[in-house]
């Protein structure tokens, strides 16, 4: 998330809007956004509806055995078609903003 915030201007300049999605309820995200100074949208999916639709449910992996999202990144073009997917195999390894920018430059 920090990497995205750092590269937000560049992403926006390429016409790309980053959006974060997790099971965190809106007020938890509001605290996070304020603390960290994030200026892109954070969406709440506490009932894992979208997360389920994207087949990203990590069952029982959250606090108190709640279902949460596994880390994943998707770049969609303006028609909503997936242009790039990053499903990490290791929880510690995440997509880097440069990867997104490289693909993003190819979007029309």
């Amino acid at each position: 998330m920090r990497g995205i915030q750092k590269n937000l201007e560049q992403l926006n300049a390429e016409g790309i809007r980053p959006v974060a999605i997790s099971v965190d309820p809106p007020d938890a995200s509001r605290n996070l956004v304020q603390q960290q100074g994030y200026t892109f949208p954070f969406l709440a999916d506490p009932n894992v509806e979208a997360i389920k639709r994207y087949d990203l449910v990590h069952a029982g992996a959250g606090e108190g055995g709640h279902d949460i999202a596994r880390p994943a990144e998707f770049l969609l073009d303006s028609t909503g078609t997936v242009r790039w997917v990053h499903l990490t195999e290791n929880y510690w390894v995440r997509a880097r903003p440069e990867q997104v920018l490289d693909v993003g430059r190819l979007l029309k």
Partner: protein, 149 residues
């Protein structure tokens, strides 16, 4: 206590293994180079293990039984710390669902409507069409994360 008799490699090795463990989360996780592969931590762990080994040798070279016991316990704890890190990173980190049904390149991304951090409902269509700096967006980057709550 005589300063010379303090088994400094042992204690330094133990301290280094603990500090290295926490350094990943406190420092190295913030830089992709040291986050995606924890080579900085691995290097420090090697130094810690060498120090622990030196400490054990030193303790076993002395004739004091107490220092041997202490060295064995401290080294074991140090190795447990190192082992736990390696396990959490290389094995625990891979415990992820396969997500075989996730949308693939070329497919239409499933629609959704979710609340933003102000409680306002936002749909994928809005994200795809609301202008960025006055221009129509070229794309949306969806970043799913585990959540902090």
């Amino acid at each position: 206590m005589n300063v010379r008799r303090v088994n400094w490699p042992l204690w330094l090795g133990f301290l280094l293994s603990v500090v290295t463990f926490f350094s990943y989360f406190a420092v190295f996780v913030w830089y992709p180079v040291t986050r995606d592969f924890p080579w900085a931590n691995l290097l420090l762990f090697v130094v810690a293990a060498v120090l622990l080994f030196m400490g054990v040798r030193r303790a076993f070279a002395s004739d004091r039984r107490g220092s041997k016991i202490v060295a064995t316990i401290v080294t074991t704890l140090g190795l447990v710390v190192i082992g736990f890190f390696l396990f959490a990173f290389f094995i625990g980190g891979r415990w992820l669902p396969p997500s075989k049904g996730a949308p693939q390149v070329g497919q239409k991304a499933p629609d959704f409507t979710l609340s933003d951090s102000n409680g306002k409902a936002v749909s994928l269509n809005e994200l795809l069409s609301t202008p960025i700096n006055g221009k129509a967006p070229k794309g949306v980057l969806l970043v799913f994360y585990r959540g902090y709550w």
